[in-house]
Amino acid sequence: MAETNPRAAYLLSAPALALFLALIVAPLVMTFLLSFYVFGFYTGIEPAFDLKNYADVLSDGYFHEIFARTFLIALAVTAIAAVLGTPEAYILYRMRSAWRSLILLAILGPLLISVVVRTLGWAILIGNKGVINETLMGLGLIASPIRLLYTSTGIVIALVHVLVPFMVIAVWAALHKQNPDTERAAASLGAGQATIFFRIVLPQAMPGILSGSLIVFSLAASAFATPAILGGRRTKVVATTVYDEFLNTLNWPLGAAIAMLLLVAVLVVLLSYNRFVERRYAQVFG
């Protein structure tokens, strides 16, 4: 098993490669082609090469609203996750290890529990007769329930819960790369806690915040189960719209076109963000 024998490497990766060519490359290509097919209520799906589906989506205000809502939800989730997840990662980083393992389990454990279960928890918490509204009304803080269920706000709250662990992980990893001496140096020169956090820790955590934001944004933009349960029929996002086209309307070509537009939108955001980050950090560290 010499490292220089590429034949062995190709043989070893052949089974995985075959599986992926058959089950991810072929299906994605087929779906891309499907998005150009035409659909009629009486004729069904017919092979074609027609840009009509894309034109329909891009010219229809109904779809604009859905794409805009999805984008805004993803943006809000990313911003809130960064604001909450960054200090939490820093607190964890400074915690003694016995406590840290326990807290880490509490924060990252939910990541491994089905998103359906977690979303159910939020449905119970934020309903009109949910725990949050009943408590606030019981305390006399509000007169009538705040409408959270079936709204974008409710979806944002639950998605922050679902995705913020990714931010904590990313920032945590970045913090471990920093040199703790920089903090001590700042402290010995008389910097206060706040100054140390904003001037020393935050800039060094920035690569983690940025990579965490990428993950959170792309997952929030394509989230399905949470908006499907908490958004109901009214507050639709791109993923639930694709689901409806495929499994209710049965207009697969239109659903495929919407999904392809989502894929392209997410990729464009990711790539331009990457370039922005690279340029910025080339300036800082270059």
Partner: protein, 267 residues
């Protein structure tokens, strides 16, 4: 390093509460003796846990999810170990592209994967079948296994293997008796993480099941979008307990911190 101040500890307490509240509330309402979701429950009863037994479709869905998780995690591990060895040890043309391809299930939105699998499985006549589910889930969980295998392979001491070969072991024997035992924690950790990912998956799966191959999360999802009764809470509580048990196993075998922050998860 300086200690966290009171403000930091208060923030930490709020954050942990935020993370655990939705799970705690599910467990709490599952204990209600009434026929509707109430919080706090007016009494304690296991009525809705007994009710699970009267719903054979949920039990069937649990077995489907269990077998699916085992089969897809095993299939993914079987192809990820050799691929991980190849990627971790050799420099060859197309290596970067291969890593990108194997990690792509993490970057392509799940909804896009779901419809692509549906389109593909329908074309080859496997839509809704268990075999189709296993193959698609193997793709979805592959990145998790591969990442842990890679972490194990890269940190490996090659001398023991070289010694085995120089003492006359065939390269397969050297792999089986020397390399495999050394990367086993990574492989086992990857398998369990893959199992959990498959067991929880809903966005892709919802497209490729049929009524006879419904998985537990998809069955639960379908039930919740129709009605919310304490039954969904008691089933969710069972899922939480089952996952906590697996987390405990992972902690023993591999270490959660290493799994979630080090080699595992997304980067």
């Amino acid at each position: 390093m300086s200690r966290n101040g009171p403000l930091a500890l208060a923030f930490n307490a709020l954050f942990v509460t935020f993370m655990l509240a939705p799970l705690a509330v599910v467990v709490a309402v599952s204990l209600t003796p009434t026929g509707y979701l109430e919080f706090p429950p007016s009494g304690l009863s296991l009525r809705w846990f007994r009710a699970i037994l009267d719903n054979p479709d949920f039990i069937a869905a649990f077995w489907t999810s269990l077998y699916l998780g085992i089969a897809s995690a095993t299939l993914a591990t079987l192809v990820a170990v050799p691929a991980g060895l190849a990627i971790g040890r050799y420099r060859f043309a197309g290596r970067g592209a291969l890593v990108g391809l194997f990690m792509s299930p993490l970057t392509v939105p799940s909804i896009v994967l779901g419809i692509s699998f549906l389109r593909f499985l329908t074309t080859i006549g496997l839509s809704g079948t268990f075999v189709g589910l296993v193959a698609c889930h193997a793709i979805i969980v592959m990145p998790y296994v591969l990442r842990l295998v890679l972490a194990a392979v890269v940190g490996l001491d090659r001398d023991a293997e070289k010694a085995a070969v120089s003492l006359g072991a065939s390269s397969f024997t050297a792999f089986r008796r020397v390399t495999l035992p050394m990367i086993l924690p990574g492989v086992a950790g990857g398998w369990v993480l893959a199992f959990i990912t498959s067991f929880d998956e809903v966005t892709v799966t919802v497209f490729i099941v049929n009524p006879s191959t419904l998985t537990l999360p998809v069955r639960l999802f379908a039930h919740i979008t129709q009605t919310t009764d304490p039954l969904v809470a008691s089933i969710s509580t069972m899922i939480i307990l089952f996952t906590v048990l697996l987390l405990f196993l992972l902690e023993r075998f591999y270490g959660l911190e290493r799994l979630l922050v080090g080699g595992g998860g997304r980067e």
